[in-house]
Amino acid sequence: MNALFQRWPVIRQLLHGGDGTGPEAMSDATKSLRPRNSGAKVARSICPYCGVGCGQLVYHQDGKLISIEGDPQSPISRGHLCPKGAASYQLLTHSQRATKVLYRRPRAAAWEEIDLDAAMDMVADRLWESRERTFVEAKDGRRVMNTTAVAHLGGATLDNEENYLIKKLFTAGLGMVCVSNQARI
């Protein structure tokens, strides 16, 4: 009861003085305020936007993202981020992100959600059939071993490891030569 009474700022004012703008007016929440990422786990990361390659600290706790900010140790960015880099947290958490595989049948006017594994099987089948149909082994006696009827686009936003697997499977494995991305000069 007395404690409760003590928590009424007016009483604090009467007892300890203060014009109502200082500690006497602070709520318990304010007193116990801490940064959101306090004590969170941190992953060392790199900004996904442009080619500068700013270092990022990704704070997370119990499998949830908490915040993303610049990595002060980075010899390139020295902890700074541009507006895009600073928006990385929203990039990963915004409501418009796709989280289910969407499938559109021929001539259909709407998406339908489908199971990931089923989708993988379907894509593998389509790819295999198209390749079987269009693969060229040789032309006037010279080796060709390619298909130009299945193509790939993209890579400059992907990881090196991902690009490596794309080129390895699509070109070295399947003979796809139409492989391209944003990068030019």
Binding site: I76, L91, L102, R107, M145, E161, L169
Partner: protein, 869 residues
């Protein structure tokens, strides 16, 4: 990267962003660095605060210009005139760094007598074949260098673009530079007409300003000073983009600014791994490490022919075979043996132009069945995107992987073609799959940034729902396909059956271990899988495997992923990530020392010869054979790197020189030449008979038409660009409220003068029309855009940022609908920075009924107005 690749040997930025802080002058051209690379720009600001002169050349006054000491507006597409004039300024006023030029460049090398210059042939070099629209570049070789008849330049990104017809390690030099056939004299003559007057007439740059620019840049070069050049797609996205970069390379070589602290050429990349995706390419014409793809024609019938063709007698590329074989071993593992040429024959052959733009036109013809799009959004980001979207409707199936539902994924649902009735959803047979992708903090992997630095990003949280990494997608797709192949061991499946695909997976979703992939990229001994620490350990006998030789050393030991290192030390932060090759941050840094191995100056020392230790040492890892003394002279029978003397810093080149002159490897000439854009309001006053780059491919067709040059219907010059607040095609910015609100609507920047002529008020809706299409935008009438006075005429320029589309929180018309699909000869990039357009004011706000692109009705009268100007 032929611009940098042919000039210096490697297709990558020669310097590091941090090193800009050491510059005495920085020329930013073809880039708005402050806007598109703000954090990198902090190093420019640091240089500025130390007193460096910042020069920005740009048609518009941008946020970069606002930080520069000198802003030089020029007519879009006249870059080579300005750079050529700077080169002429250096030569005429003897401002070149003579000792550097004599020893480190091929300026003194004597050329063949039968070479003829554009000055002799009205715009083309000798060897031009008008019928074939391509060069036979035999006459470009050094005098006395034997040549291999019959081979052909394929252009593209490969280390040499298939160009070893000549043996550039054989040459005569004239160290007095007086011989009229030496590169120096030929260069001087080539640019003799690129005068300040020409600059005034063609670029619209007043003479005084040109002189101030030239003075500022040259006076910041020499033994005691260095100047750097930064560029981005403002240079590359031109029909002669490679040659613009070549001009910069020549300028920097003449001024001795390559391989030295505060010097260099910094190519600024627009994506997190643009550099990485050419090093480890998802491109059609190269294999990892800039090894060329086998071509159907040429000598790629067999491994032997392939190696013979691409292996040089001297210089680093004499190791070609080691890298090629090690890659094949990485791909095909144990099944790749001496007897089967390490599976070389399983590799597909390049049979044509399989670049994005090339195959997309095939797609438009219905010749492509299926397409994978991963982290790219061509429906917004690609040129003539209207055509690109329509081509998508001709596919049997389309797989899109992205973090959001992009315009590309939903082209069949709400594209402009649907609303305009050109496409009908109910008639589009394309099957579409949209796979949710993981974000950067939801997977392990490495990016290679703009300065060739590999940086690993760790997984923090698992991706939401069914979102997965591309690593996961490719691995599990490959697993399924390999099962199908196992069931059907036909010759065409031999490669797939041989393909090694045994990556460990972990976790509930069976995510492949990205580091296992990086280890394969790094390379190992095939016998006991011992990780390699340098590409010097790679062998041609199949005893080593490496997925990308230039990355070897990134993972030298099982628990030592150098891309993951986070202990920066020293001036360049060695110990943070891994810079290819061999953690060298400033390439060709041997050139930072005099021929005798000592620094040019105390102020600009970087790497020098330590006589006691008998090795090269300094602030960076020497880009040179560590124990090769400066006075080393190769014996006559020396091969590969040993054939290069101790004062030849450009070790990738067979002659060890920086190439002012490119004897082989470029499809459009050994020297840069001013060609007008494919759409231009002016005649080419230098070369009336060859106004545009002879090698450029317009891919003109009814769906991809061009304006005439000039064209009264399209009197204004249009240039497109990016904004700080958005990212390329918008998939990573238009869906985020915190970014979308900062630039919520498509606008076009026009000068008050043009606005006055067209009675356009700030904020009015305007329609921008090109030969391809027309779009609506708000007008931002600003004095930051100025009419350029060229040739006694006023040329109005119009600026358009291109980030908007029909999805996301903020929508807008697709600017790339206006752009033509065209191909620069060497890398097949489109021209987005200079084309022709017209502008109209919308009478009543937005009008769904667009101006037809060939609607004669209103266009002529508008042009009449502009003629009056």
């Amino acid at each position: 990267m032929p611009g940098l690749g042919t000039s210096f040997g490697r297709g990558g930025a020669t310097t590091a962003q941090q090193d800009l802080a050491n510059s005495d002058a920085i020329l930013i051209m073809g880039s708005s660095m402050a806007e598109n690379h703000p954090v990198g720009f902090q190093w420019v600001m640091e240089a500025r605060n130390k007193g460096a002169k910042i020069i920005h050349v740009d048609p518009r006054f941008t946020r970069t210009s606002a930080m520069a000491d000198i802003w030089v507006p020029l007519r879009a597409g006249s870059d080579i005139v300005l750079l050529g004039a700077l080169i002429r300024f250096v030569l005429e006023n003897k401002r070149d760094f003579r000792e550097y030029v004599l020893h480190y460049t091929n300026a003194p090398v004597i050329l063949r007598d039968d070479f003829q210059d554009t000055e002799d042939l009205e715009g083309v070099f000798s060897g031009w074949n008008e019928a074939q629209k391509e060069y036979d570049f035999e006459t470009w070789s050094y005098r006395g260098a034997p040549t291999v008849p019959g081979a052909k330049v394929h252009g593209g990104h490969a280390k040499d673009r298939g160009g070893e017809r000549s043996r550039e390690c054989i040459y005569d030099r004239d160290l007095t530079l007086q011989n009229p056939r030496c590169v120096y004299q030929v260069l001087k003559r080539h640019f003799q007409r690129y005068t300040p007057e020409l600059v005034e007439q063609e670029c619209g740059i007043p003479r005084r300003i040109f002189e101030e620019l030239a003075e500022a840049f040259c006076s910041a070069s020499g033994p005691e000073k260095t100047a750097a050049i930064c560029y981005a797609v403002g240079w590359t996205q031109h029909s002669d983009g490679v040659q613009i970069i070549r001009s910069a390379a020549i300028l920097q070589l003449l001024l001795g600014n390559i391989g030295r602290p505060g010097g260099g050429i910094l190519a600024l990349r627009g994506h997190a791994s643009i550099q990485g995706s050419t090093d480890i390419p998802t491109l059609y014409d190269i294999l990892p490490g800039y090894l060329p793809m086998p071509y159907f024609d040429g000598d790629s019938g067999s491994l032997e022919g392939y190696l013979k063709r691409h292996t040089t007698a001297c210089g680093w590329w004499s190791n070609f075979e080691k890298y090629a074989v090690s890659l094949l071993k990485a791909y095909y593992g144990d099944r790749a043996t001496q007897d089967n040429d390490f599976g070389f024959d399983w590799l597909p052959r390049v049979t044509g132009d399989h670049s994005h733009l090339g195959y997309w036109l095939e797609m438009d013809k219905g010749n492509v069945e299926g397409l994978f799009v991963m982290g790219q959004n061509p429906a917004v980001g690609a040129p003539n995107s209207g055509l690109e979207r329509k081509a998508l409707a001709k596919l049997k199936w389309l797989v899109v992987r992205d973090m959001v539902e992009t315009e590309t994924a939903s082209f069949w649902l709400d594209s402009p073609e649907i609303s305009s009735g050109q496409l009908r959803t109910s008639e589009i047979d394309t099957e579409v799959f949209l796979f949710p992708a993981a974000g950067h903090a939801e997977k392990n992997g490495s990016f290679t940034n703009t300065q060739r630095l590999l940086q690993f990003h760790e997984i923090a949280v698992h991706p939401p729902g069914d979102a997965r990494s591309e690593t996961w997608f490719m691995y599990h797709l490959g697993r399924r396909l390999k099962e199908k192949a196992r069931a059907n061991p036909s010759p065409r499946n031999a490669g797939l059956n041989a393909l090694t695909w045994d990556y460990p997976v972990e976790g509930p979703v069976a995510e492949p271990d990205a580091e296992a992939v990086l280890k394969e990229i790094n390379g190992w001994t095939t016998a006991d899988r011992k990780l390699l620490s340098s590409y010097r350990d790679l062998k041609a006998d199949g005893s080593t495997a490496s997925g990308c030789w230039i990355y070897t050393g990134v993972f030298p030991a099982p628990n030592e992923n150098k891309a993951r290192r986070r202990e920066p030390k020293g001036r360049y932060g060695h110990g943070w990530g891994f810079a290819w090759p061999s953690d060298r941050h400033i390439l060709y840094n041997r050139a930072s020392a005099r021929p005798d191995g000592q620094p040019w100056s105390e102020k600009k020392k970087l790497v020098w010869w330590d006589a006691e230790k008998n090795e090269w040492t300094g602030y960076d890892v020497p880009d040179f054979t560590k124990n090769k003394p400066p006075d080393y002279h190769p014996p006559a029978d020396a091969k590969n790197d040993d054939a290069l003397a101790g004062d030849k810093p450009f070790i990738m080149h067979p002659d060890g020189f920086g190439w002012i002159w490119v004897p082989s490897g470029l499809k459009d000439g050994p020297l840069p030449t001013h060609y007008e854009p494919l759409e231009t309001p002016l005649k080419n006053r230098l070369y009336p008979r060859h106004a545009t780059d002879p090698g450029a491919n317009k891919l003109e067709n009814p769906e991809n038409p061009y304006a005439n040059s000039p064209d009264p219907r399209f009197p204004y010059v249009l240039t497109t660009y990016r904004l700080t607040e958005h990212h390329t095609a918008g998939g990573m910015s238009r869906y985020l409220s915190h970014l979308a609100e900062l630039q919520p609507e498509l606008f076009c920047e026009i000068s008050p003068e043009l606005a006055g002529e067209l009675d356009i008020h700030n904020g009015d809706f305007v329609t921008i029309v090109t030969a391809r299409s027309s779009i609506d935008a708000r007008s931002l009438v600003t004095a930051r855009v100025r009419p350029i006075q060229v040739d006694g005429r006023v040329i109005h320029q119009v600026g358009l940022p291109y980030h908007w589309g029909y999805k996301g929180l903020v929508k807008g018309d697709v600017v790339n609908d206006l752009i033509a699909i065209s191909e620069e000869p060497n890398v097949r990039i489109m021209e987005t920075k200079a084309l022709l357009c017209n502008v109209f004011r919308r009478e009543n706000g937005r009008d769904p009924q667009k101006y037809s692109r060939d609607g004669e009705r209103e266009i002529p009268e508008a042009s009449a107005e502009s003629e009056a100007a």
